[in-house]
């Protein structure tokens, strides 16, 4: 049994069937990639996992608990963190403050009013923030404005913000989209390192085959809203159905 179980999920947008009977199991501590051509329903599926969309039918279980009907912040508190396609960070705040906020969320829950205590006096939170920034090699940017970082650094910061919460499942939506090759490779190394050193299950949605094949342990191919095949990268590479889906020979 996997940490994430998606069963019979359907989602329609008007006449478009975005997800058709999707079944997917992500095993604990695996690095699972979901690939597929444009419009295959990858992002819709992801949005169903984090509470942004609610599927019409089917179930999504995380660690034995249903996530359906939960709000994004409740799902995050269950242990799922999400990295967006374009980095979603607090651009007006400093890098340090960016990573402190998830630390507070982890420690204090969805809401706690601490209006008199000083942020500087929160030694434990400051320590956690500094440590994670060392881990992603951004300690020299700690007092920079997050909005002034490069695209690659913003991505690393966003990943750090997710990691500092020690999630059980990390979801990444095309984490290297729009990145230069060097930045892409650095991100791949970072994700590999995360997967190797922390007990985090990583599910990644990706377009870039280079990223997918250098990272994933298992790959699910999505086409026209339903899973086509699921296998190891080596088997996926030469799979006729996959070539078909990507090159659009049939249908």
């Amino acid at each position: 049994m996997g940490i994430l179980e998606v069963k019979g999920v359907n989602k329609r947008f008007g006449g478009l069937r975005a997800l058709a009977d999707v079944n997917l199991t992500v095993a604990e501590n695996s690095l699972h990639a979901i690939i597929g051509p444009n419009g295959a329903g990858k992002s819709t599926l992801l949005n169903c996992l984090v509470g942004k969309l609610v599927p019409d039918t089917g179930s999504v279980m995380f660690d034995g608990q249903s996530v359906l009907g939960q709000t994004p912040h409740e799902i995050n508190q269950m242990g799922i963190s999400r990295v967006f396609q374009t980095p979603e960070i607090f651009a007006d705040l400093t890098v340090r403050e960016n990573v402190m906020i998830p630390c507070f969320a982890k420690r204090d829950g969805t809401f706690r009013m601490r209006a008199i205590r000083k942020v500087d006096a929160e030694a434990e939170i400051n320590e956690m923030a500094e440590k994670i920034l060392v881990d992603v090699n951004m300690q020299d940017r700690i007092d920079h404005h997050a909005g002034s970082l490069s695209r690659g650094d913003k991505r690393r910061l966003e990943i750090a913000m997710c990691l500092v919460q020690r999630p059980r499942l990390l979801l990444l939506d095309e984490p290297t989209a729009g990145m230069a090759r060097a930045d892409t490779n650095r991100t791949i190394d970072l994700l590999k390192e995360i997967h190797a050193n922390r007990d985090i299950t990583v599910a990644i949605i990706e377009h870039d085959m280079h990223v997918v094949f250098s990272l994933a342990e298992r790959i699910t191919v999505l086409a026209q809203g339903s899973p086509l095949v699921e296998d190891t990268p080596d088997n996926i590479k030469g799979h006729p159905k996959v070539r078909e889906a990507y090159l659009g020979e049939a249908h």
């Binding site: 912040h73 995050n76 607090f90 651009a91 920079h144 913000m161």
Partner: protein, 408 residues
């Protein structure tokens, strides 16, 4: 130092000194001169307004400056606070303490209700909702709840709520003053100081408001530097990321709304404590607009901005509304007659009752050229000095520019 970091402590001490010395600083010209008539602002009535509107805008800034939620209905809480305070005078006694406490409590409850409804939406829709709800409060106060014929008379309609000799005043002592007082210290009492040809007025009411303003200012600094303040800034920066980080944004924004509503209620209670009279015009939407203008003019999201903005507007409102055509003729008498008349005709629209026009132009200039408000003006002048100094030192090297924190 005093629970603040060095920079904040310095700012707080500076403001404290200014509040204490304001009666002297605002009266720089000798009594009886033309300059004094025009520019002296050290009389109790005006100084009280400086600090009371300071409190109001400091509170507004906790909501608008930190979370970015632009409320267009904060005058409603000011009015609610005013009415509550006058009711305490009518029912209990002229002591200001229960009046101020009730003003804070009632406006807190009102802001909880209004905030709960309005915060279901963000951006422009939130602003419109607050505007609509505040106008409802205004109309309730102006007509519905102020009709002596109908038996419900909470606000006394357009006459305004005031204290009558027939009011019960259950806790009124034998020799208690017939004016608002703090345990016997009458708010209108002043100590007149004459030094040479200068005259200074040290007013009890002003100093009470001043002390309360300093307390609220201190609280606002603490909120700015707290985890709660950090979350509010995060709301402004990226709400989506905040909820995907496991934080529920609604209670945070609601708390900010209630805190700022209570600040406004406190300001309203103090207005009534200085002058035991409350009218519905205090809740009008133009009054809400003025609060927004003060916050933006001073520098929204900064600590000192609200105080600068409210002081600036109250000061110029006072001066500009004092200028009339006679004065203009007097000032421009050196010009040829035709030109003088023409210029007076034009300027006439910008002074006296037309001071709104001047303020509007000033506001536009600030928004266009100084989006950070008066605080940004200060920073730029400071930066200019730094550049001059660097040039004078001839170092040519760039100074270590430490990255500025977001909520400086």
């Amino acid at each position: 130092m005093i629970g603040l970091n060095r920079k904040d402590a310095l700012l707080f001490i500076t403001v404290t000194v200014l509040v204490i010395l304001a009666p002297f600083i605002l009266n720089p010209f000798p009594e009886g001169t033309a300059m004094a008539q025009m520019f002296n602002a050290g009389y109790p009535d005006l100084m009280q307004r400086f600090v009371i509107f300071g409190i109001l805008v400091i509170g507004f800034n906790i909501l608008f400056g930190l979370t970015g939620y632009l409320s267009f209905g904060h005058a409603a809480f000011l009015g609610i606070g005013s009415y509550s305070a006058v009711w305490m005078f009518k029912l209990l006694s002229y002591n200001v303490v229960p009046a101020i406490i009730l003003a804070i409590v009632v406006s807190g409850i009102a802001s909880l209700i209004i905030g709960y409804i309005a915060l279901r939406r963000t951006g422009i829709y939130f602003s419109i909702l607050t505007l609509a709800l505040a106008q409802m409060c205004f109309n309730l106060a102006y007509s519905v709840l102020g009709n002596p014929q109908k038996g419900i008379n909470l606000t006394n309609g357009e006459t305004g709520l005031q204290v009558y000799t027939s009011d019960p005043q259950y806790l009124m002592g034998e020799n208690a003053p017939e004016l608002p007082h703090l345990f016997g210290l009458v708010m209108r009492d002043s100590l007149e100081l004459e030094i040479g040809s200068w005259a200074f007025t040290l007013n009890a009411g002003y100093y009470l408001c001043g002390v309360i303003m300093l307390a609220t200012f201190y609280l606002s600094i603490r909120i700015f530097r707290s985890p709660f303040g950090l979350m509010l800034r995060a709301v402004k920066s990226n709400q989506q990321r905040l909820s995907y980080t496991g934080l529920n944004t609604r209670p945070y924004t609601l708390c900010a709304f209630v805190v700022s509503g209570m600040y406004a209620g406190l300001a309203g209670g103090l207005l009534s404590s200085m002058d035991p009279l409350a009218g519905a015009e205090r809740m009008h939407w133009t009054a809400s607009g003025e609060i927004v203008i003060m916050a933006i003019l001073g520098g929204a999201g900064t600590l000192i901005g609200p105080i600068l903005g409210s002081g600036f507007i109250e000061y110029f409102k006072n001066i500009l509304s004092k200028i009339n055509d006679n004065l203009l003729h007097q000032w421009l008498s050196f010009l040829p007659d035709g030109l003088e008349d023409a210029l007076v005709w034009v300027l006439h629209f910008f002074v006296g009752k037309g001071w709104h026009l001047t303020l509007g132009i000033l506001f536009m200039l600030v928004v266009i050229f100084l989006p950070g408000g008066l605080v940004e003006l200060g920073k730029r002048t400071g930066g200019l000095f730094d550049r001059f100094r660097n040039a004078a030192e001839g170092s040519g090297k760039e100074r270590n520019q430490s990255p500025r924190k977001a909520a400086e």
